[in-house]
Amino acid sequence: MTESAAVSRVLRIPALTRVEGEAALHLVIKGHTVIRAQLKIYEPPRFFEAFLRGRAHTEPPDITSRICGICPVAYQLSACRAVEDACGAVVDGQLSALRRLLYCGEWIESQTLHIHLLHAPDFLGYDDVFRMSRAHVTHVQRGLRLKQAGNAVIELLGGRAIHPVNVRLGGFHRTPARSELRPLAERLRIALEDAWDTVRWVSGFDFPDGECDVDLFALAEPDTYAIESGVPTVFPAGGTRTLHSFPVHVFPDHVAEEQVPHSTALHSRLDGRRHLTGSLARFAISGHLLSPLALQAAREAGLGDPPLLPRAGAALDRGSTNPYRSILVRAVEVLYAVEEALRIIDAYEPPPRPHVDVPPRAAVGHGATEAPRGLLYHRYALDSEGRITEACLVPPTAQNQGAIEEDLRHAVQAELARGVVDESELARLCERVIRNHDPCISCSAHFLDLDIERHGSQAKAAD
C-alpha cells in the first residue's frame, strides 16, 4: 500500500441474494486498517409509510404484505397487532393459535429457503442451488419438500403462499374445520423427519470463526418461544448485564431510525447502540423455552444449551453469537416450527367466530412480531373514522444493518491482518458475511459493488 493519494477501485461482483436494489459495499481502508464499512442499499423507495396515510384501518395487513413477498405473513400479523392495539381489540384463544400456526408455516418456508437455496451454497462452494443440486440432490430435494410443507400450511390457512388472502383484523375471514387440518398434519410429520435431517446436514458444515458483539434484540414471552407476539427484550453485549425489556408502546423511545446518506434504507439504533435481531438473538433470549426435541437438536448441532433464565444480577453467557452458525439456529427453528404446527393442529377446536370485531377509534397502536429475519415493528395512528393519519414500519434488516457493517469491518480487518488483499477474495468474504444475516429489505439481489477506498496518510477516521 503506498502512502500516496487515495486510490479508488471498483470491483463489480454478482448477486448478493436478499439485498434490495443495488447493494454496494464501501470500504475505507487505511494501510492495513479498515476505517469504515458502509453497506449501501439503493432500494428504489416505494413509500409505503406515505401512501398508507388516508387508507382505511382495515387495509394495512393486505397493503404492507406487499413490502415483502418472502415474509408477507410477518407484515400481515405485525399490522394486525398494531391496529388491534389502537382499537383495543384482543385476539386470543384458537384465533391466536391459528395465527401462530400460519406464522410457523412462514418460518418453515422462509428459513428453509434461506438454508438450502441461499446459504448452503456458500458453505459447499457453489454459485447456486441448481449447481449444488447436481452433487447434493437429496439434500436439495429434501429442502424443497420442507419448504413445500411450510407453503402448504400458509396455502391452507391463507389461500396462497405469497400474499395470503385470509388474514384480516381480528382473525381470519374463514377458519378451517378440524378435518381440513388433518392432511396438513400428515405432511408435517414427514417434514419433522426432513427438519431433523436438515439440522444434521448443516451441522456438518465447516464454520469459520466469528463473533457478533452487539446487543441482541428479540421479543420474549414468559412461557413460549416468541413468534406472533411478545415483549421487546434486550440481551446486552458484553454478557455481564442482565436482560431488560420494555413495553412495545415505548419502542419508539428506544429504537430510533436515522437516515444516512449512503442508503435508501433507514438505519436504526437501539438506545444509541448497534443491535441484532433474528435467529441468533431469539436463541439467546428465548432458547430455553424451545421444546425438548428442539433443544436436543440444538445440542446435536453443537449449539450447546441456550442461556437459562437469568437470575437477578448474575452474569450471563450469551451462548454462540457466531453469525456463520446462524444457519444452525435457523435449522433448529424450522424443526421447532414444524413441531409447534403439529401441536397447534392437534389441539385445534374451531373458534365460535372466525374473527373478533375491531371497530375503529382515534388512537395510536403498536405491534411487533418475530419475522423469520427478526423483530418487525408497526405503528399506526388512526382518526375516529379509522383513517390512517400516520404509519411507521421498522423492518428487521433496517435494525440489523449497523451490526452487519460491524461484522464486515471485523471480517475484512481479520483478512487484511492475514495478508489477504485480493479484492475478489475480499468481496466473496463480504458477501458471505452479509448473507449470514439473511438481509431482506423487501428483498432482492442486484450487484454488490465493492468499492475500496485505500487511503494514504491523509485519511480521515470516520464515525
Binding site: 413509500f47 406487499r66 441448481f130
Partner: protein, 268 residues
C-alpha cells in the same frame, strides 16, 4: 408469437434471465416456489441471470427475460432498455411490472410530500415522481398479471415461450373461475362487495372461497363493466371513498385507466 425462443435442435439450452425492478420479490419467489418442477425447469434452460438464486451472473443475450417490478428511478428506466436490447423475448411478471404496482399510488399524489414523510433528507434520494409498468418504457412480448402471479400460470408461460406457442392464459373475469370452483357468490348470498366481475382471472378465485370479496389483485379483466358493479358495491354499504380505495390499490393505474375511459365516454 413467431417461433420458439430458440430454434429447436440447436443443441443449446435457452438462456433465461430473471430481472427485478421496484417490487417485493414475490413474483420471482413464485419461480422458486415451483418446488416439484424447479429442478426440472433448471435442466431445460440455462439460468443465465437470476440474482435472487444464483451468484453466477451471465451477461446477455437472453432468449427469454422475465421481468418483475416497476420503473421508479431514472437509472432503472435506462436498465430496462439495456435488458430489452439483450432479450429475444421479454415477459413481465406481476402487477408491479404490468401496471406499476401498489407503489404507483405515488402517481396520484405529490411525491415531494411522500419523500418528506419517509425521509428526513429527501435530497439523498433519487426517485421518479411515477411508478410505471415496463411496457411504458420498452416493447413487451407478454404480460402475466397478478399480485402475486400464479405458479401454474408462470409455468405455462415459460413452457409456451420455450415451445414457441402462445401461452394459454385466459382473459375472462374471476367470476368464471368462481363458478368453476363451485363457490357460492359472496355478493349474491351475503352482500359482500367483490371485484370479481371486473377482475382478470388467474388466481383461482381464492378470496370468495375464503368468504371475502375479490380485491382485484390481478387487475381489470378483458371486459370490465364498472358502471354495473359500482351501484352494487354502494348497495352493499360502500361509500364513494371506499369504492375508490377498493379500485385504487395493487393495480391502481390499470383500474384508473378503465375509469378514465368511462369518463371520456360520458363526455358529450
Amino acid at each position: 408469437m413467431s417461433g420458439p425462443v430458440q430454434p429447436p435442435n440447436s443443441g443449446r439450452r435457452p438462456r433465461v434471465g430473471v430481472f427485478k425492478f421496484a417490487s417485493c420479490d414475490g413474483c420471482q419467489l413464485t419461480l422458486l416456489d415451483c418446488e416439484d418442477d424447479l429442478l426440472a425447469i433448471a435442466e431445460e434452460i440455462e439460468v443465465a441471470h437470476f440474482l435472487e438464486a444464483s451468484s453466477d451472473v451471465g451477461c446477455g443475450p437472453y432468449d427469454l427475460s422475465l421481468v418483475e417490478g416497476s420503473v421508479t428511478t431514472a437509472e432503472d428506466a435506462e436498465r430496462i432498455r439495456r435488458i430489452r436490447a439483450e432479450s429475444r423475448r421479454l415477459v413481465t411478471i406481476g402487477a408491479c411490472a404490468t401496471a406499476g404496482g401498489v407503489q404507483a399510488l405515488r402517481n396520484y399524489a405529490d411525491v415531494t410530500d411522500y419523500l418528506q414523510t419517509v425521509y428526513a433528507r429527501p435530497d439523498y434520494i433519487a426517485t421518479l415522481a411515477t411508478s410505471t409498468p415496463i411496457s411504458a418504457h420498452v416493447p413487451v412480448d407478454f404480460e402475466l398479471r397478478g399480485c402475486p402471479i400464479d405458479r401454474s400460470q408462470l409455468l405455462e408461460v415459460i413452457t409456451a415461450f420455450l415451445a414457441g406457442r402462445k401461452p394459454g392464459v385466459p382473459n375472462h373475469s374471476v367470476c368464471f373461475s368462481c363458478k368453476r370452483r363451485g363457490t357460492v357468490c359472496v355478493t349474491v348470498a351475503h352482500g359482500t362487495p367483490c371485484l370479481g366481475p371486473v377482475t382478470h382471472a388467474g388466481c383461482g378465485a381464492i378470496c370468495p372461497a375464503y368468504g371475502r370479496g375479490c380485491y382485484g389483485c390481478f387487475g381489470p379483466s378483458g371486459t370490465t363493466n364498472l358502471p354495473a358493479l359500482v351501484p352494487l358495491m354502494r348497495r352493499d354499504g360502500m361509500s364513494d371513498e371506499d369504492v375508490r380505495r377498493f379500485l385504487h390499490t395493487f393495480n391502481v393505474t390499470a383500474f384508473a385507466a378503465v375509469e378514465e375511459a368511462l369518463e371520456e365516454e360520458d363526455l358529450p
